[in-house]
Amino acid sequence: MNSLGFSDRSAKWLPALIVAGFISQALLSSRLSQWVHPEPFDAQGPKVDTKVTSILRAVGFLSGYKVLVGHAFWIKVIQYYADADNSPDRYSRLYDYCSLASDLNPQFIPVYTFGAAALAFHLKRIEQAEHLLQKGILSNPNETRLKLMYAAIAYQNTEKFQQVIPFLEEQILRGDAPDMLVNILANTYQKVGRYQDAIHLWRKILKDSDSDLERVEAAQKLQKLYAIVKNENSDSHR
């Protein structure tokens, strides 16, 4: 008898047991890749062209401590933006740094809100801000702050209202959109001439909103829209 309590003949099964165990763990390991989202360090987002950030990206992904490296890198991003020496080239790397920080820590919302605000409202790089926010919304679909910021940037700084409308409609259809988002969509409809859609939304706000201020605003907007529609109808009859 060996120490397992099996006879010597049965102990010949030991190598088979090891092989079977190895194969089963190998098969399970392959299955498990569906639960893990491997993010090789050069696969996501634009490449950052400094040695330090490349190393950080590699360390973050390789060590399993992406989030910690992300937090450390975020401090670097803030310091980069706060450094007046970077002002002459208008913080050209801000978007790249924010993108890397978001790759490392996709659920850290300040990366998107701070980064997008700086890019859109200070540096006037609207496309980069929108791209950053879209990335954030993809990773954090329930985060309303990102949607609001995206809508605000689109409404304030861009003439591409038509492109913003489908995005806003989708967010509102999810059912958890804040009222401000509905406001922005209604105003956007008005800007592109979809008055009936705008009237429908303002009526909804008038009926459902808990805020007196919003109902007052909705009433005022409806008044203006009715006047616009009436004028249009009378023009067309002529």
């Binding site: 763990q25 498990l32 060590s63 937090h71 659920q107 300040p110």
Partner: protein
């Protein structure tokens, strides 16, 4: 079963009295210090920073304790040959190994859960925030990872011939275990057949530690832990630990105590 518990308790007591808990204390101090520093330097979502740091602190302190435990017990058992007297007792090798793993894991779990309590305290009591539900799943996954690594570390003890070797093998296997995703990505590329074969061998031999890594996704709203995932993770932990245990057992059987 009783003998496994006896060896486990003996090992646990030895580790506790070897001042391993100082690792926990130092980790807490470092964690609080880093959290305070980051809250000053960083911008936004301070509670998330505390949580992320805390989770990293839990894993790092657990790993540190594991490596130190391996070093300390290797010195006692193998170098100083305290194992001789135990092997001459009516104790089977598998009982000895399972008992040792139990002792390592108990020590690890104590440190990890202790750090977890500190993290929850920081986030809830100091920060006034809410602990995400995934945090508790993350802790369980972390404990599973520690269990797999305890088996692995003990097997390295049985195979290794020096304390430094055992610690280094364990450390680099842990590091490489987190790179399994990168190996998968490499395997998806065009490779020479020999390189692909070698890479596949490495891929299947390394422990896939990324499946236990929920630290990055504690705040991920898209993550829902299905029972199927729990099942796969538990089965994998069991299967890998079993294979590693068998290798350790065979190594101990074949080992000559000169």
């Amino acid at each position: 079963m009783r003998k496994i518990l006896t060896v486990g308790l003996f090992t646990f007591r030895e580790l506790v009295r070897s001042k391993m808990l100082f690792v926990w204390l130092i980790s807490v101090v470092v964690l609080c210090g880093l959290a305070f520093l980051l809250s000053l330097l960083s911008y936004g979502d301070i509670l998330k920073i505390f949580m992320d740091l805390g989770l990293v602190g839990m894993e790092v302190s657990g790993l540190l304790v594991l490596l130190l435990s391996l070093a300390v017990t290797y010195n006692t058992e193998m170098d100083q040959k305290a194992i001789f007297l135990q092997m001459a007792k009516p104790l089977t090798k598998e009982e000895y190994l399972l008992g040792r793993v139990l002792g390592f894991f108990a020590m690890n779990a104590l440190v990890v859960l202790g750090m977890g309590a500190v993290v929850v305290g920081l986030v809830v009591l100091v920060g006034g925030g809410v602990v995400p539900v995934l945090f508790y799943d993350c802790v369980v996954f972390l404990l599973l990872e520690m269990l797999v690594l305890s088996f692995l570390g003990l097997t390295f003890q049985m195979i290794g011939t020096t304390m430094v070797g055992v610690v280094l093998y364990s450390f680099f296997t842990i590091l490489l275990g987190h790179c399994v995703g990168e190996i998968e990505w490499l395997l998806s590329k065009q490779l020479a057949p020999a390189a692909r074969f070698l890479l596949q061998v490495v891929y299947y031999c390394l422990p896939n530690l990324e499946i236990f890594n929920l630290k990055d996704r504690v705040y991920d709203p898209t993550l829902v832990l299905h029972w199927a995932q729990w099942q796969d993770v538990l089965l994998y932990a069991f299967a890998y630990s079993f294979v590693v245990f068998l290798i350790g057992w065979i190594s101990l059987e074949k080992r000559e105590f000169k």
